[in-house]
């Protein structure tokens, strides 16, 4: 009989095989687990804010501002032009509306239809929105215009992504 502390050849082989096997299994499983939980670990993609205009230029008349954002579409990276209608409402708060019509995606224009001087007008199918971006019932759009996430820093207006209401 072997002494208590002594490791037999059989035991030694067992230990080393489980050890090596364990490493190998771990080597295979670790990446799998990492892949599986990856979406949880991913940092929420940072909201990119783009400077658009000086806040001092903003009046209560909507003006259209164009700005460029980088867009990655699959493998295709491109600069996309986006526009916003920017104005101050009665409470002196800055409003930035997306000009994309909620009907089929045309670009709406402020007061371009002489019959409706205080509304956003879509040239494609005559959709209309009031100044706060709410769709006029009876015209094709079924939802109000999207509103941009915004922030003001050092007297400049920064716009993020448009969010549906």
């Amino acid at each position: 009989m072997a002494k208590k502390k002594e490791v037999t050849r059989r035991q030694f082989l067992n230990y080393s095989l489980t050890g090596v096997g364990g490493f190998m299994a771990a080597g295979m499983l670790m990446p799998m687990v990492r892949f599986a939980i990856d979406p949880l670990l991913k940092e929420k993609s940072k909201q990119d804010f783009v400077p658009v205009m000086e806040t001092s230029e903003i009046t209560n008349q909507p003006v259209r501002k164009e700005f460029k954002i980088d867009q990655v579409d699959g493998w295709y990276e491109s600069e996309v032009t986006q526009s916003a209608w920017v104005y101050k409402d009665e409470k002196d708060e800055i409003v930035a509306l997306s000009p994309v019509c909620k009907h089929l995606g045309c670009t709406v224009d402020w007061a371009s239809n002489p019959a409706y001087p205080d509304q956003f007008f879509c040239p494609c199918h005559a959709g209309r929105y009031t100044k706060d971006g709410v769709n006029v019932p009876g015209t094709p759009p079924l939802a109000p215009l999207d509103v941009y996430n915004k922030k003001v820093e050092n007297g400049k207006l920064y716009l993020g992504k448009p969010e549906p209401r």
């Binding site: 089929l104 670009t107 040239p123 494609c124």
Partner: protein, 156 residues
């Protein structure tokens, strides 16, 4: 709408609202006037993409009609007519062709579509801001052309 699967799906659903096709006419040549040929194509590409963005809901931007600089105007017109026919058969009430190539002016009367010829503006030496302004000024004119076309068809 663009010539992509996702946009075409919307198109298939909303066909009644989309009655205008936009076809850019783009020349190809590697042997003569290389640079001016390319700049025509680039300019028309920018204009048609921007037009699509502004009037997405009623326009379908179809792939460009390409032709060799050496092809005769008659043969180009002949080929292009077939595309016009296909678009009309598909339910397009208006076809808008955009080109920077002055040759097409000769065949304007043979075409059923509204031909819009605009000389290419060299954009390469402009800074970004200036470029955007130039293009949006040009686009305003094009929008006018398109909306006039729509309006005259309501009256007519």
């Amino acid at each position: 709408m663009k010539w992509t699967e996702s946009d075409i799906e919307v198109y298939a659903k909303e066909r009644e609202y989309v009655d205008t096709a936009v076809v850019p006419l783009i020349p190809i040549s590697l042997t003569s006037n290389l640079k001016s040929t390319v700049s025509m194509g680039e300019y028309i590409n920018i204009i048609s993409n921007e037009l699509e963005r502004q009037l997405k809901g009623r326009l379908l931007l179809v792939p460009a009609f390409t032709y060799l600089q050496s092809e005769t105007q008659d043969s180009r017109t002949e080929r292009f007519k077939k595309i016009e026919d296909e678009l009309t058969d598909g339910g397009m009430k208006h076809i808008i062709t955009l080109t920077s190539d002055v040759d097409w002016k000769q065949s304007e009367e043979h075409l059923s579509s509204g031909l819009l010829w605009m000389p290419a503006i060299p954009l390469e030496h402009m800074d970004e801001q200036h470029k955007v302004e130039t293009i949006s000024a040009q686009i305003k004119q094009v929008l006018q052309f398109v909306t006039n076309k729509w309006q005259s068809s309501i009256k007519g």
